[in-house]
């Protein structure tokens, strides 16, 4: 069976993009990815679009984006795995190559979250759980769901609000080095700690913003990749899992079972261990999510995430740098685009093209950790230079 490589990447500026509609926004990253891959659009047999939708006007985004970018006629579909929709798109495109359907496929992640007002966005995200049992009567929000995990983690392991704020400070530190990030300014620990409470004990600076953005990868079979590029980045392990919609049914509130499962599958398929990873992106929709990711990915033991933060182990220069693109917190989190954006960042890092946020690449291995909902979906992917 062939291997599959990332051969082209594209990434729009993330942020409040009131200057573009959904087609224009997707085009920005599609154009870059097509140019980067040096591929003829006619050779792209499958275009998978990751988008959660609801907050913008078009209900068939795959078709709208395809028309705008001159891709009508390709096989296409939209995939949704909540905030992991982008990784689901990458996986579907990857599967279409492995299955022999096409030599070259594209995954586009795109979201426009600012065409409705903020309370409506909060509402749409809050509804994405168990509507009947956790929203209709109780008005859950996304910060509130993650706050349930944060409180449990604090109670069980002594994790503090300051530990969480440090993750926010780290995100902004590297966001300042990413010209495509929504926030490109460093912040102080004090500023994070003093920000407004949104769902106790999580504050505004524990939370990623509402964002617009797009990201695209072009994937190719081994044969096509060798023809198209000298710097392929191979997809070596794909792990994914799911958990219940009702938070009340989860096994525990100190980690995400789906993430642990997905990581185990990805490591096993790639035949690597957590310690082999040179660079990772973790799904930090909230600071607590990044902290739990360290543990769920096996970067440290359960309960020791805060220690990793305090000791700077996930900073540039640390044992396993995480989210050197600013993460969802500073880079922004356009729901459907995030998973593809992670694939773009890891590809840049493994190619050595990450500029002043470049991690040292020793074993040539990168990892993306992309969570949908509050662990409703988990996608973990291992990338490799070789």
């Amino acid at each position: 069976m062939t291997r599959v490589a990332v051969v082209g990447i594209g990434h729009s500026r993330f942020g409040r993009r009131t200057d573009v509609n959904i087609g224009e926004l997707a085009f920005e990253s599609i154009k870059q990815a097509v140019d980067d891959a040096g591929v003829d659009r006619n050779d792209i047999g499958n275009v998978v679009v990751g988008s959660a939708g609801g907050w913008y006007e078009e209900s068939l985004p795959a078709v709208v984006v395809g028309e705008y970018a001159g891709l009508s006629g390709a096989g296409t579909m939209r995939v949704e795995a909540a905030c992991a929709s982008g990784s689901a798109a990458v996986k579907a495109a990857y599967n279409s190559i492995l299955s022999g359907e096409t030599e070259v496929a594209m995954a586009v992640g795109v979201e426009k979250m600012t065409e409705v007002d903020t309370p409506t966005s909060v509402e749409l995200i809050g509804r994405a759980g168990s509507y009947t049992w956790e929203f209709e009567n109780y008005g859950m929000t996304f910060p509130a769901y993650y706050a349930l995990y944060a409180v449990a983690h604090m109670n069980e392991f002594g994790t503090t609000q300051e530990d969480l704020s440090r993750i926010s400070v780290k995100a902004h530190k590297y966001g300042a080095r990413n010209p495509l990030a929504q926030f490109q300014k460093e912040i102080t620990l004090e500023k994070a700690m003093r920000s407004q409470m949104v769902a106790w004990p999580l504050k505004l600076y524990d939370a990623c913003p509402l964002s617009d953005g797009s990201a695209t990868v072009v994937l190719a079979s081994e044969e096509a990749a060798k023809r198209l590029t000298d710097t392929p980045v191979w997809i070596r392990g794909v792990g994914y899992s799911s958990d219940t919609a009702n938070l009340s049914r989860r096994d525990s509130y100190v980690g995400l079972r789906a993430a642990v499962d997905a990581a185990a599958r990805a490591y096993s398929m790639a035949k690597v261990a957590p310690g082999d990873i040179d660079i990772a992106t973790a799904h930090d929709c909230f600071t607590i999510a990044e902290l739990m990711a360290y543990e769920d990915l096996g970067f440290c033991k359960k309960g020791e995430g805060a220690k990793m933060v305090r000791e700077g182990e996930t900073e540039l220069g640390g044992r396993i740098p995480v989210n050197l693109d600013g993460g969802l917190k500073a880079k922004g989190h356009p729901i459907g685009a995030t998973g593809v954006s992670m694939a773009v960042e890891i590809t840049k890092q493994l190619r050595g093209e990450a500029g002043n946020r470049q991690a040292p690449i020793k074993r040539g291995l990168g990892l993306t950790h992309n969570i949908g909902g509050t662990g409703h979906y988990a996608y973990v992917t291992v990338y490799s230079r070789d």
Binding site: R16, T18, D19, E57, D117, P119, T120, V122, E123, G126, R127, S130, Y131, T132, W133, E134, E136, N137, Y138, G139, M140, T141, P143, A144, A147, L148, Y149, A150, V151, A152, N155, Q196, M197, V198, A199, W200, P201, L202, N246, L247, S248, R249, Y253
Partner: protein, 143 residues
């Protein structure tokens, strides 16, 4: 940043759902009578909350209603400060996940306790409430 040119849609879309509860309306009926019940699979004995008329464990579709009692133990909690649009009139509210005997858990508002004053392991009681329109829901209160 000044607002960029936009087409302000003149076609608002309003969605309000009628969610079928034929299979499990006994839950809401019992709640109105002050009882907190759920489903138990008659084939494998699996008790689930929320109630399900089909068993996620053995796929059997026969079940009976069991009373979970009023007593629950606080597992985890938060307090919503920024509410969604449709809850904008509710102010700030504390939300809890609490466990019943037998192990099932539920999520509901925790009335009368600020999140800062809550403690995991705290003894709670589940109580029925109704909205001004008469629709029932349930909350936790300190036992």
């Amino acid at each position: 940043m000044s607002e960029a040119p936009a087409l302000h849609s003149r076609r608002p879309l309003t969605l309000r759902f009628d969610i079928p509860i034929s299979r499990t309306h006994e839950f809401w009926d019992s709640l109105r009578a002050g009882k907190f019940v759920t489903t138990k699979c008659t084939k494998c004995g699996n008790v689930t909350f929320p109630p399900q008329s089909d068993c996620p464990r053995c796929m059997g579709s026969e079940f009976e209603w069991v009373d979970l009692g009023q007593d629950a133990t606080l597992v985890t909690y938060t307090q919503v400060m920024t509410a969604p649009a449709s809850f904008s009139a509710e102010g700030s509210y504390t939300v809890a996940i609490a466990g019943f005997r037998g192990g099932v858990r539920a999520l509901a508002w925790l009335e009368g306790v600020k999140a800062e004053d809550a403690r995991s392991g705290m003894k709670l009681r589940v109580e029925a409430r109704s909205r001004p329109d008469g629709s029932p829901y349930y909350v936790f209160v300190r036992a």
